[in-house]
């Protein structure tokens, strides 16, 4: 028996989402089960039926070199923004005093 992962699309243009898995000896049986489980009331626009072994799964995304310059959390603007605003205000005060 083969385990098949079933992904279903609810509406045209929506992403395919994992719905569950089924067990079947071949693709034809897998399609029959998947149609019964996820399509018999017209609740799906389309199904992807993929043998679990055919799914190439990747888990770990190590960041050995701490490449945070390409992430949003790599940029802390708060302190320097405050400094810049303070500079502008100080400049305005100085010109008013003249």
């Amino acid at each position: 028996m083969i385990v098949w992962e079933v992904f279903r699309q609810e509406k045209k243009g929506k992403p395919f989402e994992h719905a569950g898995s089924i067990e079947a000896p071949d693709a034809a049986f897998a399609e029959a089960w998947a149609r019964e489980q996820y399509g018999r009331r017209g609740e799906s626009e389309a199904l992807w039926i993929v043998a679990r072994d055919a799914v190439h799964e990747v888990h770990d995304f190590p960041d050995e070199f701490d490449l945070k310059y390409r992430r949003v959390d790599g940029y802390s603007l708060k302190a320097r923004l405050k400094e810049a605003r303070g500079r502008v205000e100080a400049g305005a005060d100085a010109s008013r005093a003249r």
Partner: protein, 295 residues
């Protein structure tokens, strides 16, 4: 990951996938709980199956057949989840027919009249959907995902049951009595359905985030939702102590927990008969499984 880190992950709302590491206790509790759910779906079709040939109209016969197909489909999906956790479906089935696997109390009782069929589809499914909706938040993600489809189909079952009950209460005096007698018979098992009043803090199933709702909260939600719906049809709930307090909490006669315990351990009025039927069919249909595997 250590067990402490795992628990911290769960308590922070984290979920677990099939291939992830998990403590043995978590896996064991999950297998036991999910297997019980699968067995219940499979045994739950038997009380209704008895009425397919006796359904009053063709439309009712078709709807009941569709419902039975849905429940068997749920059992297939649920046993698949158990299988990924390490226990093969064949083992789940053999434990079930050997009387070693538990299933919900309500499926151990007889379906005496068509009134019972309506009350089961309406109120038993209503009680079940309260628990199943809470399972949408289960920490084990593959189980939570299939619950989406299951809840969606259960909503159709409740509507079907309500339709049956409404037709009967709008019918003759004898038909109204049929519904009232069914409610009288099913109220006890319904009140036992969500289990004893174990506090959330003492319930390991909640601590492992397998369940997200305390038993008593589920029962209160059932009473709050369905007692008014029963009463508005001119039907009565057979519990003189039933009362909604000013703070919204329902008081009721203590359910018979001894009965619950006896029934779920296989001593219900129909336990032996239904298991015998399941055992016979498992044997009788063996050739189908073998033919499929040989294909």
């Amino acid at each position: 990951m250590t067990e402490a880190e795992f628990i911290e992950h769960l308590h922070g709302g984290g979920q677990v996938e099939a291939g992830d590491w998990m403590p043995d206790e978590y896996r064991a509790r999950l297998v036991k709980f999910v297997q019980m759910h699968g067995s219940s779906e499979l045994m739950g079709v038997l009380p209704e199956r008895e009425w397919i040939l006796r359904a009053p109209t063709l439309q009712r016969k078709l709807a009941l057949t569709a419902k039975v197909q849905d429940e068997v489909g749920h059992a297939q999906l649920i046993f698949r989840v158990v299988e990924d956790l390490g226990k093969p479906r064949e083992q789940c089935l053999s434990e079930l027919v050997a009387g070693e696997a538990k299933f919900h109390n309500v499926f151990h009782y007889p379906t005496q009249t068509w009134g019972d069929v309506g009350v089961i589809a309406w109120l038993v499914d209503a009680a079940a959907i309260i628990s199943q909706k809470a399972l949408l938040k289960c920490s084990y993600a593959p189980y939570a995902r299939i619950m989406k489809k299951i809840c969606w189909e259960e909503s159709f079952h409740i509507l079907h049951g309500r339709d049956v009950v409404l037709t009967l209460v709008n019918g003759t005096e004898a038909q109204r009595e049929l519904v009232q007698e069914a409610i009288d018979r099913w109220w006890g098992p319904l009140m036992q359905f969500h289990g004893t009043k174990i506090a959330a803090n003492d319930d390991p199933m909640i601590q492992w985030r397998i369940k997200s709702q305390a038993n008593e909260d589920a029962r209160q939600q059932f009473l709050e939702g369905y007692v008014p719906q029963i009463r508005e049809l001119g039907l009565t709930v057979p519990d003189p102590a039933l009362r909604r307090r000013d703070d919204g909490v329902w008081e009721y006669t203590e359910p018979d927990w001894d009965e619950l315990k006896a029934v779920v351990t296989g001593h219900g009025p129909r336990s032996a008969e239904r298991l015998a039927l399941r055992r016979r069919f498992l044997e009788q249909e063996r050739w189908v499984r073998e033919a499929v595997l040989a294909a």
